[in-house]
């Protein structure tokens, strides 16, 4: 709200330093957008949604009155509603000499639920440009001058907060105003020249036949004031906030009037708006009333009364505010304050323009605002219970970050919405991505079903900037039409280890991805995992695996399908390895908090290496399985330490070297026992897998 400093000073004699005035008012809850010095200084305040009364100079003047203890100047602007002068019916109009009948205009409210009060008056006018002082003031306040009639309505709105509208009376069929709901499919052209289709939830101002204005939002083009206009019907009404808001939203039409009505205007203000306009018309010679004031107000509203207790003020603010200060703060703001039950309790009558004040807390805010939050003491809330343990989700996420950063991955954060096209390959078959109804753009139209599309984009961002070795991970929410879940994903391309002068670095491959998944499982104490081929459409077949623990799918990993990386800007020919783990499943299969330490072995172990040649398609897991089945329980570990194809190994075969460790918890094993076990193992491998020992 642009407050013209000299206009404000006409209403209340604020100090003559613009910056001081701006700062002091801003500290009462009106954030400062700008202060413009110069010939016509302007203070631009941001008015919060709860204070429509301050979308006017009078509203800000009341705040100033409370701050500096200054009285609002008496005069037309600040006059009480009770003293409005309503011209007599049949009043003599000076410039025309005509006598106008009392029934020059007929006003009917058919929808009092949407328009509880409607005032109107007919004026004889001479349409012309406004005098320059009026034009300059409107321009300073940010409103474009149009003609003297429209300018006066805008001036009144900016001054006292009542939006008004002037109709050309001759364009109103049968000189009638009917305030009613729009008919289905009823249409009209608004002042901005756009044809609008209305619906019965919208309020219109109509003449005998058709809609001539969208109530509280915008007037119609057909009844607009023109230079030929001789008589006007001036409207000043109270429209229900919810209805104006809905209509404005549905039509996509926001105006100065709708902004005020939808937040809640003052139901006592409509007649005063007309009175002030009449005064200005006279002052600038724009016109004079030729009808009485018509005031349709079928069910007058009562002002709210609220009990205010000094003790409650102290409880909320943490400070006793001297009881004599309370009326001193509230009265200048328009509240009537009557003491009740002696000291420290009041009955407060809320002025009709304070739509935001409905309970005691709202009054306490008024007291606090003008007492000053900065004067309140500084305390610390007493601890009356021990802190509960942290949310397990937080502990879980910290462990993941610790593990993955230690493995060289940096943490990424990406947006949860992505292109629908980018989401599709990552949705399970038969499950749709969750779509956003009102996305900012097509790029943000779907919620991510996986963290991978975002990570791939982040990898591409880095790759385009010359970075070759990239390790990123993200922890975050994932969504499908079935609901929300949580996962961790990683992407790896380029070197597997940091480059070093001592030797060439290796490029990351499938087993780096697998190792990352295994590491995560180890961090969570997941007892055993199995892998199986995955058919995920975004992974290269043959290099795609599912991770299963305890019969539940824990995640997937493998090589990203090159076409997906290429489409997002990665470099063709560079392999990208990715993986993603479901964190809810991970937490479920994780080891609990019941660890028992094992005592260390008391007897030595015996280690035997074995090299066998088997078919290259034989999975290592089968070899392990055969060894386990053939070995005694003293076999405590098997580890593959070499895999070789090439010279000396026949085509289609592979040489596999394994290290077997034997140990008995209760005694020292003999060489003979271990040799016997090895012989049985070699025999089993030969029978099961045609394995030859090298």
């Amino acid at each position: 709200m642009r407050i013209v400093y000299n206009w404000l000073r006409e209403i209340v004699p604020v100090p003559d330093d613009v910056d001081t005035v701006a700062r002091e008012i801003s500290l009462r809850g009106f954030e400062l957008a700008a202060v413009e010095q110069g010939r016509e200084p302007v203070i631009d305040f941001e008015i919060t949604a709860n204070r429509p009364d301050c979308l006017s100079h009078v509203g800000i003047a009341r705040e100033a009155s409370a701050i500096w203890g200054l009285a609002i100047k008496s005069g037309s602007v600040a006059r009480d509603a009770g003293s409005d002068r309503i011209p007599d019916s049949g009043q003599r109009i000076p410039d025309s000499g005509q006598r106008i009948p009392a029934d020059a205009l007929d006003v009917v409210i058919e929808a009092p639920d949407l328009c509880p009060r409607y005032c109107a008056q007919v004026f004889h006018v001479t349409v012309a440009p406004s005098p320059s002082w009026l034009q300059q003031r409107l321009e300073a306040a940010g409103v474009r001058p149009i003609n003297n009639i429209v300018d006066v309505t805008n001036y009144v709105m900016l001054e006292i907060g009542q939006p008004m509208h002037a109709f050309d009376l001759e364009r109103l069929g049968q000189h009638r105003i009917v305030v009613r709901r729009a008919r289905a499919k009823e249409s009209m052209r608004t002042l901005d020249g756009i044809d609008r289709t209305l619906d019965p939830e919208m309020l219109v101002i109509a003449d005998a036949e058709r809609a001539v204005a969208v109530g509280g939002v915008m007037g119609g083009a057909d009844s607009e004031i023109s230079t030929a206009t001789k008589t006007i019907a001036l409207e000043s009404a109270y429209f229900e906030p919810t209805s104006v808001r809905r209509t404005s939203k549905r039509l996509g039409l926001k105006t100065e009037a709708s902004a005020r009505f939808e937040r809640g205007s003052d139901f006592e203000l409509p007649p005063r708006g007309i009175a002030r306009a009449a005064e200005l018309f006279t002052q600038i010679g724009a016109g004079a009333p030729i009808s009485p004031l018509i005031d349709r107000y079928p069910a007058p509203r009562e002002k709210r009364q609220i009990q205010l207790r000094s003790a409650r003020i102290a409880r909320l603010l943490g400070q006793v505010v001297p009881p004599e200060d309370v009326p001193r703060f509230l009265k200048p703001l328009g509240f009537e304050v009557a003491p009740k039950n002696g000291h420290g309790e009041w009955t407060v009558t809320v002025p009709s323009f304070r739509v935001d004040v409905v309970r005691e807390e709202d009054l306490i805010e008024e007291v606090g605002r003008h007492y000053g939050f900065d004067r309140l003491p500084v305390r610390f809330p007493p601890l009356d219970a021990a802190q509960p343990p942290p949310d397990p989700i937080i502990v879980r996420d910290r462990l993941i970050r610790q593990t993955l950063t230690a493995a060289g991955f940096s943490e990424a954060m990406t947006f949860a919405f992505i292109e629908r096209q980018a989401a599709l390959p990552f949705c399970e078959r038969g499950v749709d991505p969750a779509a956003i109804q009102n996305p900012l753009s097509e790029k943000f139209a779907a919620l991510r079903p996986s963290l991978l599309p975002g990570l791939i984009d982040s990898c591409a961002h880095n790759r385009r900037r010359g970075r070759k070795d990239i390790q990123l991970f993200e922890i975050g929410s994932r969504f499908t039409s079935r609901g929300e879940g949580c996962g961790v994903a990683f992407a790896w391309l380029g070197a597997a280890t940091l480059a070093h002068w001592s030797g060439a670095s290796r490029t990351a491959d499938f087993f780096d991805a697998k190792g990352t998944v295994e590491l995560l499982c180890r961090a969570f104490g997941v007892a055993a995992i199995d892998v199986a081929p995955s058919s995920a459409p975004y992974l290269v077949r043959g290099r795609a695996a599912e991770v299963i623990s305890d019969g539940t799918l824990l995640g997937v990993f493998g090589q990203l399908v090159p076409a997906i990386g290429d489409a997002r800007g990665l470099v063709a020919g560079e392999e990208v390895y990715v993986g993603e783990v479901d964190l809810e499943v991970l937490a479920r299969v994780a080891a609990g908090d019941d660890l028992r330490a094992q005592s260390l072995p008391r007897y030595p172990s015996i280690v035997r290496d074995i090299s066998i040649v088997v078919d290259e398609t034989l999975p290592a897991a089968s070899v392990r399985g055969t060894i386990r089945a053939a070995a005694p329980s003293t076999l405590v570990s098997i580890s593959e330490f070499d895999r070789y194809q090439g010279k000396g190994v026949p085509e289609g075969r592979v040489s596999l070297s394994l290290r077997l460790t034997f140990r008995d918890p209760d005694r020292t094993l003999t060489d003979d026992e271990v040799q016997g076990a090895m012989d049985r193992i070699v025999e089993a491998l030969r029978t099961e897998h045609r394995a030859e020992q090298r």
Binding site: L316, F373, R379, I394, T405, I436
Partner: protein
């Protein structure tokens, strides 16, 4: 032998000594001057007989002094050079070491964990919740009924079709704040309440230097008997001064939020100009920077969760972690937090 020969030899030696840096070169110098056969000093001494007899004692002493001096200097230099020579198996200490790869946590995580640790120490529970919400928990229970103008303050992203949320109920929107979690917590627990709820939130804001449609928020809530605005001030003083520095001043300005009454916006004195505002673009010459919104929980919120507003009072606050990070680290563009450029991420401590 003459005085001039002795002087010339001394000058030659000093030149040779200055250019010899290795042990081998120094030994060469020793041979050249001191070797019994053919050493220059030895030769000089042998020529003593050719000097006039009365000058022989003096010249002989001079020549011997020179020999002594050369020996001492060479011994010192050779010892020093031998001490400098690397022992067997020595490596080049200046070559780069071999580091295990170590990734960086995201700066927003660093800041969030910092905030969590400050509030943990003050006895706050840390709570996480679903990002998909229903109208009730995101708006209605927070004193924002349908068609409430305050809903415009938080332009909302809606789902095209309802989805089962992590909390179990059908969700229709992306949460605009983490307050829904606090409502759920209060529905299930009696006061006292003392918690912070960090998490990602969504608003229909276009990307620019200071806005992203998804950002991270941390909200705090304290409810009990006799909790006042003074307690809010005390807690925020501890929190913000630990985060930004003990010298910072705080300012509480009245504001409006539908779920708090009274409401206050909190400003922190500008770090760039020390709060003077002089020629400061950081704080637009005001000396103050807005850091968070707060207030006393609105009684309508207590009524929605079944707390007695006459018995209990409480306060709440909410702040954006991105914005705080911009201020704390002088980051100029909020989008950097979501591009994941490793050159940016690696600037932050591990």
């Amino acid at each position: 032998m003459s005085d001039s020969q002795i002087d010339a030899l001394r000058a030659d030696f000093e030149r040779d000594l200055s250019t010899a840096t290795t042990v081998t070169a120094l030994r060469g110098v020793r041979d050249r001057y001191l070797s019994r056969k053919g050493g220059l000093v030895s030769g000089l001494l042998k020529s003593l007989g050719s000097a006039p007899p009365d000058a022989r004692p003096r010249l002989g002493k001079l020549a011997n002094d020179l020999r002594q001096q050369i020996e001492t200097q060479l011994d010192e230099r050779i010892a020093a050079a031998e001490a400098d020579r690397p022992p067997a198996g020595a490596v080049d200490l200046t070559l780069p070491g071999r580091q295990p790869a170590l990734g960086h946590r995201h700066p927003l995580t660093l800041l969030r964990e910092r905030i969590e640790s400050i509030f943990s120490r003050m006895g706050f529970l840390i709570l996480e919740g679903p990002e998909l919400e229903d109208e009730y928990h995101n708006f209605e229970a927070l004193n924002m009924p349908p068609d409430h103008p305050a809903r415009d303050m938080q332009d909302t992203l809606y789902l095209a079709a309802p989805v089962r949320s992590a909390a179990g109920s059908p969700a229709t929107l992306l949460r605009t704040h983490t307050s829904g979690m606090q409502i759920r917590y209060m529905e299930q627990h009696k006061p006292p309440v003392r918690l912070i709820a960090p998490g990602r939130v969504y608003r229909r804001d276009n990307l620019d230097l200071t806005h992203t449609p998804m950002f991270t928020q941390v909200e705090g809530l304290v409810v009990g008997e006799g909790i006042s605005l003074a307690d809010l001030k005390g807690t925020l003083f501890v929190f913000l001064r630990e985060l930004f520095g003990e010298e910072r001043k705080l300012r509480f300005r009245p504001s409006f939020f539908p779920y708090t009454e009274p409401s206050a916006e909190v400003d922190i004195s500008c770090g760039a100009c020390g709060g003077t505002g002089r020629d400061c673009s950081m704080c637009k010459r005001t000396g103050w920077i807005e850091i968070l919104g707060s207030g006393m929980v609105h009684p309508a919120v207590f009524e929605a969760v079944g707390y007695d507003p006459d018995r209990y009072t409480g306060w709440a606050f909410g702040m954006g972690i991105e914005r705080t990070a911009l201020l704390k680290w002088g980051v100029e563009d909020i989008r950097l937090f979501y591009e994941n450029d490793l050159r940016f991420l690696e600037q932050f401590p591990l």
